[in-house]
């Protein structure tokens, strides 16, 4: 079973759909799970106790968890000086703390059978230092640092931890960003092309594969950076 957070929309939804199509059993976590046609838990990743409760439920179900994809995330595309404190706080709590809560709670389910693939999400904004994305990039830089350290802590259990860092992908997160701004970012990628959710799903599948056992603590930039 593979756990996908942020499974109701955007990249999380695309990944959940792709994995189900590929024959994986998927459990989705999202705040709003209405209309999703696969097993889900409705909760906020920023709520540590709620996530612990989901982990207890999964443990008692006895199903083997082989993967965790921390795709839940929100963006705040504002100049840092103009970002309200509650908005910055929410970005850090969902993107960074949500990743940490889920990783802490669900990893023991993989330690049991000495196998697991954890995939966290970062962004090209960390590497490029994009203006207007300071809080978002800070939260994702935290995810990268957490992932590198955590990868060492769980390597003995056959668990790998990696980050996927997309450039501007066509999802709701880009709402309000002009095509001109997107083009400027794409021009700074190694591969100057705007990639789609399906391309990110390809990278996720690559990392989920048992043959990716030698890759851990890495950040894979979709499009190159």
């Amino acid at each position: 079973m593979i756990i996908v957070t942020g499974a109701s929309r955007g990249l999380g939804r695309a990944i959940a759909d792709r994995l189900i199509s590929a024959g994986h059993a998927v459990v989705g976590i999202a705040r709003n799970t209405e209309g999703l046609n696969f097993p889900t838990y409705s909760c906020d990743v920023a709520d540590a106790e709620a996530i612990k409760s989901v982990a207890r439920s999964l443990r008692s179900s006895g199903e083997e968890v082989t993967g965790l994809i921390n795709a839940a995330g929100i963006a705040s595309l504002n100049l840092a000086l103009m970002s309200p404190a509650p908005q910055v706080d929410r970005v850090i709590r969902v993107n960074l703390m949500g990743t940490i809560h889920c990783t802490q709670s669900f990893t023991p389910l993989m330690v049991r059978h000495k196998y697991g693939r954890i995939i966290n999400f970062s962004t090209i904004a960390v590497t490029l230092g994009l203006s207007g994305e300071a809080a978002y990039a800070a939260s994702k830089a935290g995810v990268e640092a957490f992932s590198r350290s955590f990868a060492r802590e769980v390597s003995a259990f056959g668990i790998t931890v990696n980050c996927v860092a997309p450039g501007p992908i066509g999802t709701d997160l880009l709402r309000g960003v002009s095509q001109g701004q997107i083009d400027k970012i794409v021009d700074r990628q190694i591969i100057r092309k705007q990639f789609q959710p399906a391309d990110v799903c390809d990278v996720v599948e690559l990392l989920l594969d048992s043959r990716s056992k030698s890759l851990s603590g890495q950040v894979l930039h979709v499009g190159g950076a």
Binding site: K52, R56, R59, S60, Q104, P108, V111, R112, E153, A156, F157
Partner: protein
């Protein structure tokens, strides 16, 4: 499962994970830091197996609370402190 049996099963988990003979670990043995013979990977594995034992006994073992890692009263200070906390959570759940 009663408290005495749980205590025995607790020690069984430690010996099994650490692959030790019963004479080489005492209640005073440190679990973290200092001269602890236990590496952090083994400690995680012990906790995961204690979660399973707790489920079998009908309670939830919480090893990630503030209490667990507090410097002054860490439940991982020694075999005895972990056993005390484990059986305390069992008793609390039975009340």
């Amino acid at each position: 499962m009663n408290q005495e049996e749980l205590g025995k099963r607790f020690l069984g988990v430690l010996f099994a994970v650490l692959d030790l003979s019963r004479g080489s670990l005492s209640l005073e043995s440190r679990l973290m830091g200092g001269d602890s013979p236990i590496d952090s990977f083994s400690l995680v594995e012990i906790c995961v197996q204690l979660e399973d034992l707790a489920s079998e006994a009908g309670f939830e073992f919480d090893w990630t609370s503030d209490n667990a890692m507090s410097q002054s009263r860490s439940i991982f200070h020694s075999v005895e402190s972990l056993q005390t906390e484990f059986t305390r959570q069992f008793s609390e759940s039975s009340e």
